[in-house]
């Protein structure tokens, strides 16, 4: 699973290991239980009580199903969608029947085929409803749409940067041809990365190399005004991250924090791995003179949306200002 195209083409079974999907399932099934409770009671006052009665049945089954589906995810993805969906429904129904039999065994419920079949049918209905919901949702965010959206969102480099860099390279050609050659090569690499297919996750090491190239080019034109500090400790370089997530943030840091100020400034980039999360922290001086806050917010919203398309709820992006420093904090789930 290396990209948003993680599911085989046309497959719309959700990623049962994704936190967002699990959360949606938990909420969805409980909403169904609430609705069922409302249908069963005659007085509104009895509604919460009825729901709690139902929950005793629903929650264990729900949790067991979530666990089972998370374990079987990769197997299910190998099946065609219809078959996979039928398998999911059958599995949930089977679990419901087994669980009901277990309750009977423990003396909490009456036995009998009718009761077991009723439990299985209800569970299957519930699973079917949730699958239908995910099917519709995937349709709304269909791979084609999501991919188009991603391509559009993937930050385009500021034209301002391109033309100023070209100008800086031109100024070097006569005096320092070798430096100019090197700069052009870096510019070429940068644009190759920008024009690549943006759906695939890329190795973190590549993304970092790209950022270094970008900052080298900025240093070429800004000279001593730009200082950069990297703090990278034992990162799994083979870890994969969405492409061009960091570079636009750095570009923002330079555009808003360094360029508008006459005094030199430092951009700091810090990576840390905590458990199975990767934390990236970027900071730059706040320039009281440069006030294009709106542009910056748009770039952040853009990256946030991309993170949501890749990771649903598992990634975070926050920005804050602290003692004259602007800090962007990004958390990504580690995936190899």
């Amino acid at each position: 699973m290396a990209s948003i195209k993680q599911n085989p083409a046309g497959h719309r079974l959700p990623d049962f290991r994704n936190l967002g999907v699990m959360l949606r399932l938990l909420l969805g099934v409980n909403l169904l239980a609430l609705a069922a409770a409302l249908v069963q009671v005659t007085h509104l006052a009895a509604w919460p009580e009825r729901y709690i009665d139902l929950a005793v049945w629903v929650e264990p089954l729900l949790l067991c199903s979530l666990l089972l589906l998370a374990v079987l995810r990769d197997l299910l993805w190998r099946l065609p969608y219809r078959l996979a969906a039928a398998t999911v429904i059958a599995l949930v129904a089977l679990q419901a029947a087994l669980l009901h039999d277990f309750w009977r065994f423990m003396g909490f419920a009456e036995g009998g085929w009718a009761a077991v079949a009723r439990a299985a049918l209800l569970a299957a209905g519930c699973a079917g409803a949730m699958l239908a919901y995910f099917h519709l949702r995937a349709g709304a965010l269909s791979p084609a749409l999501a991919e188009a959206r991603l391509q559009a969102l993937t930050a385009r480099i500021r034209p301002h940067f391109l033309f100023n860099s070209l100008n800086a390279v031109l100024s070097l050609i006569r005096a320092e041809p070798r430096r100019a050659e090197h700069a052009l090569e870096e510019l070429a690499d940068l644009f190759r990365a920008l024009m690549r297919d943006h759906r695939d996750l890329v190795p973190l090491a590549d993304e970092i190399a790209l950022c270094r190239q970008y900052l080298d080019l900025e240093k070429l034109r800004l000279g001593d005004r730009l200082h950069v500090e990297w703090a990278i400790d034992d990162l799994p370089g083979e870890m994969r991250v969405p492409p061009l997530m960091l570079q636009p943030l750095l570009e923002n840091a330079v555009y808003h924090g360094i360029e508008p100020s006459a005094a030199p400034g430092t951009v700091r980039i810090r990576f840390a791995r905590r458990g199975d999360e990767l934390t990236v922290e970027l900071s730059n001086p706040v320039c009281p003179e440069g006030a294009h806050v709106a542009g910056n917010r748009m770039a952040l919203a853009n990256i946030r949306e991309r993170l949501a398309l890749y990771y649903d709820l598992e990634a975070r992006l926050e920005a804050r200002e602290e003692n004259g420093t602007y800090i962007v904090h990004m958390v990504l789930p580690c995936r190899n």
Partner: protein
Amino acid sequence: MQELSVLIVDDEAPARARLRELLGDVAGETPTRVVGEAENGLAALDLLEHESPDVVFVDIRMPKMGGIELAQHLAHLPQPPALIFTTAYDAYAVQAFEVNAVDYLLKPVRAARLASALGKARALRPPPATLLQSLQPSLQPDGRRHLSCHERGRLLLIPIDAVLYLKADLKYVTARTKEREYLLDESLTHLEHEFAQRFIRLHRSVLVAKEAILGFERNGPEEADAHWLALVRDVPERLPVSRRQWPVVKSYARQLST
């Protein structure tokens, strides 16, 4: 052909070097002499104290003082130099320049384009004030950082932070700082609009810096004619608040005290 003296204003050293190189390349066609380089508008104004170049190349985005503000101050000089803007990418500004026949160069600059700009330079007039004002919202969202005042052949810059109040008398507007008053050649209405964040109107003819207000005192008898005076830090004058403006000023003062 007579040599043109040139001043280059750009915050990026490579960009200045490149323009110098190109000026050398077109020297056969249009001989030029670079009399100075500056890394922002403020440094350029310093240089202009001693030099009076024929042409100034001005980058739009620079720290401390950008190209648009520099152009606004240059317009106050008795014999303003010809101004040619240089920019990497400012779609909106470029369009405005086109419409107003203001010359500009897109970076990277082409030698042929540079030569033609220099050829026209002597005939160039300063960009119209209305154009510079219209570019302000996108390129200088906070307004200028200095006001300029032309005095005995010199251009004086007054940091906007130092201005305590602005007062209109008959024909002129005066800006009061802690030390002294300066005569400005601008309208109070335009200043009020440009620096709406910083100043509040007390009276038809007075704008005061919000942060400089110390308090208000009542003037005159209790009855009909009573009105309020504003106390301003660092200066002894008390500024009248008109009856019409008092509700606005009062609600601002309330905001402050809470």
